[in-house]
Symmetry: C2
Subunit: 159 residues, 2 copies
DNA sequence: GCTAATCATTACTTTTTAGTCAAGATTAGC
DNA sequence: GCTAATCTTGACTAAAAAGTAATGATTAGC
């Protein structure tokens, strides 16, 4: 259960756009610079996010990317769904081993674990907006711990 | 955010072992048959699980695999940690783009999201034993929704 | 119109993950 | 001891994901 590169960087690029003042845009080289990835890679990510309708772009000189909607109306679960190809809906078709479908007939204890995990993650992400991720680490941290129902204070540190 | 093949199949193989009566064992071809994967693949998975101490094995005729501990003392978070290479502890070292470490200095809104998601998943998995996954789909499903429900009821609490 | 800056799209290469194979080691039963 | 069934292990191959490159399209400013 881990975050893919596409989810990670895609999300980070969106946070950069959410950081902009109204009317400002970022070019691919700028995004690449800000996130420490190559411009080509940034281009691919932004292409995906554009197709999915999260950002708009203008071409030509003075062109660039900007959010298609206000950052406080974009929830993380929508973003992750696009960047992650939404694999859940076909779980029993994708991990089939050498068979066509998974071998479990009827009663299966695995399926609800997989589905349940995705529900829990979805549930958490659907409460967080892109806007709330902008430059406020301790705030985001507090929000997550509130969701979990845990009252721990985690010092911000690189992990 | 998705389950890897290793997590999925490894967990499924363990559930098969948890299903055995006391003293029984399963051979690689049997496990492979039950889960619809190749014997070679089952062999690799069981090797991992053996190294990690979840199963024991006996070689030779009449050999096979069995759980090293009672299934109701094995929690899913331990299993997943082994099958998933525990990537969390080095998040900012692994998604570094073209840099050595991630570019964010100080205040970062992404890090707590990643860490928080892993905490939520870990938290859910640490409450479920291998034993509870054996052949009772609706029970497992109910358990997961109870965990989610728990989060919901805790959230509105004021401090 | 021309040019430079920019996004768009597809094809390609590299890296990582998944899965297979083959040779070796161990054991029960004869 | 011999044999057949079994696990063990490292090397190999295949598939998927990640990342790069190259070419084409659009636009602002001159
Ligand atoms: S995982 Fe698909 S039915 Fe068990
Ligand atoms: S993701 Fe590592 S500091 Fe932002």
């Amino acid at each position: 259960m881990k975050i893919s590169a596409q989810e990670e960087y895609g999300l980070r690029c969106l946070v950069q756009l959410a950081n902009l003042a109204d009317g400002e845009t970022l070019t691919l080289p700028q995004i690449a610079e800000l996130e420490g990835i190559s411009a080509a890679n940034a281009g691919k990510l932004m292409w995906l996010l554009n197709k999915a309708g999260f950002v708009h772009s203008t071409r030509g000189t003075k062109g660039g990317y900007f959010l298609a909607r206000p950052a406080d109306e974009i929830y993380l679960n929508e973003i992750i769904k696009v960047l992650d190809e939404d694999v859940l809906s076909s779980h029993c078709d994708s991990y089939t081993g050498v068979m066509e479908k998974c071998v479990h007939t009827g009663d299966c204890g695995i399926r609800p674990v997989i589905v349940g995990l995705h529900e829990i993650v979805e549930n958490a992400l659907s409460r967080i907006t892109l806007a709330s991720l902008v430059g406020n680490e301790s705030k985001v941290d507090a929000m997550f711990h509130q969701i979990q129902g845990l009252h721990r204070t985690l010092e911000p540190q690189r992990v």
